[in-house]
Symmetry: C2
Subunit: 229 residues, 2 copies
Amino acid sequence: MSYTYKYAKPAVTADCVVFALDEEDLKVLLIQRGQEPFKGQWALPGGFAEVGESLEDTARRELEEETGLKNVFLEQLYTFSKPERDPREHVITVAYYALVNLADHEVHASTDASNAAWFGIDDIPALAFDHDAILTTAHERLRGKISYQPIGFELLPEKFPLRILQSVYEKILDRDLDKRNFRKKILSMGILQELDEIETDVGHRAARLYRFNKQEYDRKVEQGFNFKM
Amino acid sequence: MSYTYKYAKPAVTADCVVFALDEEDLKVLLIQRGQEPFKGQWALPGGFAEVGESLEDTARRELEEETGLKNVFLEQLYTFSKPERDPREHVITVAYYALVNLADHEVHASTDASNAAWFGIDDIPALAFDHDAILTTAHERLRGKISYQPIGFELLPEKFPLRILQSVYEKILDRDLDKRNFRKKILSMGILQELDEIETDVGHRAARLYRFNKQEYDRKVEQGFNFKM
DNA sequence: TAAGATAGTGTGTAAAAAACACTATATCAA
DNA sequence: TTGATATAGTGTTTTTTACACACTATCTTA
């Protein structure tokens, strides 16, 4: 089977920069390429767009095929189109970034990619194509985004203590925050539901758990509320 | 001549939302389509990506071909990829937005498009494809962008009085600003060069002219200076 | 039961944003 | 030439927001 067009067409792919957090730092999910070009090298998960499928669908499909991840927070990042970015032919890639919480999403390399693994943001190996530039762009975007939109919850399990939420902000913004000021600000947004539950299995006083209140958040977005940190 | 590929490929276009300002309001440049589909309807200038050309180059090339505009401020906006957005086939479009000043750039429809004209942002006709959605996205982006990056100068001639610069902000943000606060803030950025010239041909006291100091601006960007309005 | 670890809480100070009004200088028309 | 009109240009006060800062409470573990 083959497809013939009157004009030459560039190819189109969707690539994903998947962020997660563990106790230590911000992580990025990479896959080890099973085919040429860049066979054996690490790269962002992603693949070719199919006709009839939106690029967000492409991104989600490839992400699941290559890493098993699905139902993640996903937003478009930027489209990279320099003709020389792929040695085979002109390939345009529409990059997305995703946020996942490690607790709910186990990662396993699927058939498409020979391997998948998390890497600390400061410990990224050499990447295939221009994926280092994509990753840098995504990291900058994440930093900028969290300052005026509460997306940090996407990196956490459903219930969490404020300490952990603060550490999300600290790891992404890469600076320490004042505990009292942080709590004041985040609670004043009115998008956290205080639960009648506390942490378990911690070697110190257990903290109260909170949950992100999406209904309230959506209502406030509607009203033009400002979520600036 | 034809091109054959092993896999089906979506087509790729670049479209431009070109903004300008006149005395009354914010304008958008549209072209009237000369071919089907949507023949005779208004649309954003743009066209198909060629292999070997970055999408920004595509956008600039099509813009010049269709409207005669070149050397404009241009930034990527968003990529639209719903398969049904073009009735012919699956066409992905990478949208850009451009800022031009009407004084320096005369617009003339070229061969590609049957007609080109400016429309007030509140007076846009029905548009081809999903171009209304693209335009809305661009307008929102422009509003957001000007609040933390001094791009308003791109819409003005080289020399301008502060009153006109203020009106740029007012028209884009769609609200009145306090003259004294505006002057304080914009001058404190230190990116305006005060000229030894004043307006001419005005029916009132003539105002001093200023010029955007790109060197200073670039220096301050380098240093991470914040241009928030 | 003492040591260690984190939870949880309020106030004062500094910086930034917003509100606000008058005098100066030019043009234009009578 | 003079009065009407139109915009230029200029500081201060008030309000809001951001930042700095330290102690007591509660739980765990040895």
